[in-house]
């Protein structure tokens, strides 16, 4: 086969791979693959246990397989299986963590973007390092320290751990965001007679709102979905979060998959909504967090 013919063949393969139909087919199958488990969670959360145990399972369930009324799995879960407590705990922990982390992270991010102090670059690299430590490695010391402080099985313990896990990322992201805001603005504000605090509060912070929003969303999601520490540090419904509640279902003798699916769907719901509503913010937060640190 001469090179000319080879060239023509690869040319046409390339054109085929880039054609509309191939790309559509690839994208459709990828989307099906990635969204099907989510669809299946939702569908299963509406089924009776008999419907779940049927084989082969029906992709679009009908008739006797579905619970009646359709939301009964969710209401049973929320009002008879202490999932209302789990939901409140998850909300409380995630919101408190977000407030603490975003406040401290924004302050430190501004500090790192505008001031120099000895070894500041090393401190900053250290912050990145803190973010990259595997949480499982810190589980044992946190577990034992909380045990000695009588903090096991409290929401405060979870807030402390999630602050430790999210603060480094937020400092990093906010610093990069503040650096993208020109220092001329600070300068102009000083010349006009405002103090440094006023400048930060009235001039720079409003401009950094999108960055703060991205950090808040990411922190909320990461705290809401966290499982390892929540599972190890909580025992009673007073402190357990939703991911832990969903996991507990598996420890019964008979796994109630319909309730498990409902619990799982509640656990993923805020993240799904956030992704749909704030896709751009989350994408930029994720890529900036990864690539720029």
């Amino acid at each position: 086969m001469d090179t000319d013919q080879q060239y023509r063949i690869s040319q046409s393969i390339g054109r085929f791979l880039q054609s509309k139909y191939v790309i559509t087919a690839v994208l459709t199958s990828l989307v099906l693959y990635f969204t099907f488990p989510i669809y299946w969670t939702f569908v299963s959360s509406l089924k009776t246990l008999d419907g779940i145990h049927k084989f082969p399972p029906s992709l679009v369930p009908g008739g006797g397989e579905l619970v009646d009324p359709i939301w009964i799995n969710y209401t049973t879960l929320l009002f008879e299986k202490s999932f209302n407590m789990f939901t409140l705990n998850s909300l409380f922990v995630a919101l408190a963590t977000t407030v603490i982390v975003v406040t401290f992270g924004t302050l430190a991010g501004y500090g790192f973007s505008r001031f120099r102090f000895p070894y500041d670059d090393y401190v900053f690299i250290g912050i990145l390092g803190a973010r990259l430590l595997p949480p499982i490695g810190m589980l044992v010391p946190f577990y034992r320290m909380f045990g000695q402080l009588n903090l096991i099985d409290t929401r405060l313990a979870l807030i402390v751990v999630y602050t430790y896990m999210n603060l480094p990322l937020v400092i990093w992201l906010m610093r990069n965001y503040f650096i993208s805001i020109p220092a001329d603005l600070d300068e102009a504000a000083y010349i006009d007679g405002s103090t440094r605090f006023q400048t930060f509060k009235d001039i720079i912070l409003p401009l950094a709102k999108p960055g703060v929003a991205a950090c808040a969303i990411l922190t909320f999601l990461f705290s809401w979905r966290e499982f390892l520490f929540a599972f190890a540090l909580t025992f009673t419904p007073g402190a357990k979060t939703i991911p832990v509640g969903a996991m507990m279902m598996i420890e019964d003798v008979v796994v109630l998959w319909n309730y498990l699916a409902a619990g799982g769907f509640i656990a993923m719901l805020p993240a799904l909504l956030f992704v749909i509503l704030f896709q751009r913010h989350i994408v930029s937060g994720l890529t900036a967090g990864a690539v720029k640190g």
């Binding site: 145990h53 690299i125 949480p135 979905r225 499982f227 896709q279 994408v283």
Partner: protein, 323 residues
């Protein structure tokens, strides 16, 4: 002025130190805050973070050289815990599983993510493109423990949808116990992990693809380059830094995976899916062998440090210079 110089210029204050005189009378307290504003914004966060990082890490080191149980007093044993680790066959087994897990899941997720990113990047309409991005990112939104649980349900030997679909497609003839059969469990865990990790790869790689200027492809097209030549000579070289970072990050996160394995198989059947993270959990929390688990954690952190160092070196310049 380079970016680096610009940042230093910004940080040193473009106009020297500010005393507050320019603002007129602001009172002694506000003037003090004004003069020491750097301390006011940096001290509280760094104090909190420093405490939350340094306290547990020093405690970790301390307990790793002690014979410590959950209840009872601690006895100093020197490096005995570390010696025990290197004589522990279960440690080698879980380390081996962890490494295989990282390699399998990261390469699978990378291929899936790259395919998704390349395909999405071909879509011309911005609206359609962000729709596809959202649909693929939804998988990232699922909490990892829920990922494990729901796949455990889907892979169930008796009534799982995966068995049903594969039988219908004619791939298999009898139901398989994807998570109950030791020879299949590990593969299942890796595939599920890749499902959860691929969207992140897709997002990072898509961001990388979008920074490649269209002119390059245009010029290559004019010169008569075909699809593969363009991919080989334009896409791959430009995507390399992004791909390296994606691979390092994903490896780092796959190495520490706990939730997916724990929810999907719990380390079983017959230890076939026991990884380092679940082993630490079992030793430290279930068996209360705090000293040994701490030493294991230290070993795991040291291994992670290899990735971390590489990652930091890769992005350090970029991280400190990005505006």
């Amino acid at each position: 002025m380079t970016t680096r110089e610009l940042i230093n210029f910004v940080r040193e204050g473009a106009f020297g130190r500010f005393s507050g005189e320019e603002t007129g009378e602001i009172g002694p307290i506000r003037e003090f805050i004004n003069d020491h504003f750097m301390l006011f914004v940096l001290t509280p966060p760094l104090f909190v973070l420093g405490t939350l990082v340094l306290l547990p890490s020093s405690y970790l080191l301390w307990s790793s050289v002690h014979e410590a149980r959950t209840w009872g007093s601690d006895v100093f044993v020197g490096l005995e815990n570390y010696v025990a680790i290197f004589q522990d066959p279960m440690f080698y087994l879980s380390l081996q599983h962890s490494v295989m897990y990282v390699i399998g899941s990261v390469s699978l997720a990378f291929v899936l993510g790259l395919t998704a990113a390349l395909a999405i990047n071909q879509v011309a309409s911005k609206r359609v493109r962000s729709t596809f991005t959202v649909l693929i990112l939804l998988a990232w939104a699922v909490p990892l423990v829920v990922t494990g649980l729901i796949w455990r349900f889907m892979l169930h030997a008796d009534y799982g949808i995966v068995n049903s679909l594969l039988i219908e497609a004619g791939v298999i003839s009898t139901k398989l116990g994807f998570v109950s059969d030791p020879s299949l469990a590990f593969i299942s865990v890796v595939v599920v992990d890749a499902w959860a990790r691929a969207p992140f790869a897709a997002i990072l790689l898509l961001a990388g693809l979008q920074t490649i200027p269209d002119d390059l492809y245009e010029a290559a097209r004019v010169d008569g380059a075909n699809f593969f030549q363009k991919f080989r000579h334009i896409t791959i070289p430009h995507l390399k830094p992004q791909a390296a970072i994606a691979l390092v990050i994903m490896s780092m996160f796959a190495f520490r995976t706990f939730s997916i394995v724990f929810a999907l198989t719990g380390g079983g059947p017959a230890n076939s899916t026991r990884v380092l993270a679940t082993y630490i959990y079992q030793a430290g929390i279930n068996q209360g062998n705090v000293g040994y688990a701490s030493a294991l954690s230290v070993v795991m952190i040291l291994i992670t440090m290899v990735f971390v160092t590489f990652y930091v070196l890769q992005i350090q310049e970029d991280a400190l210079e990005t505006a």
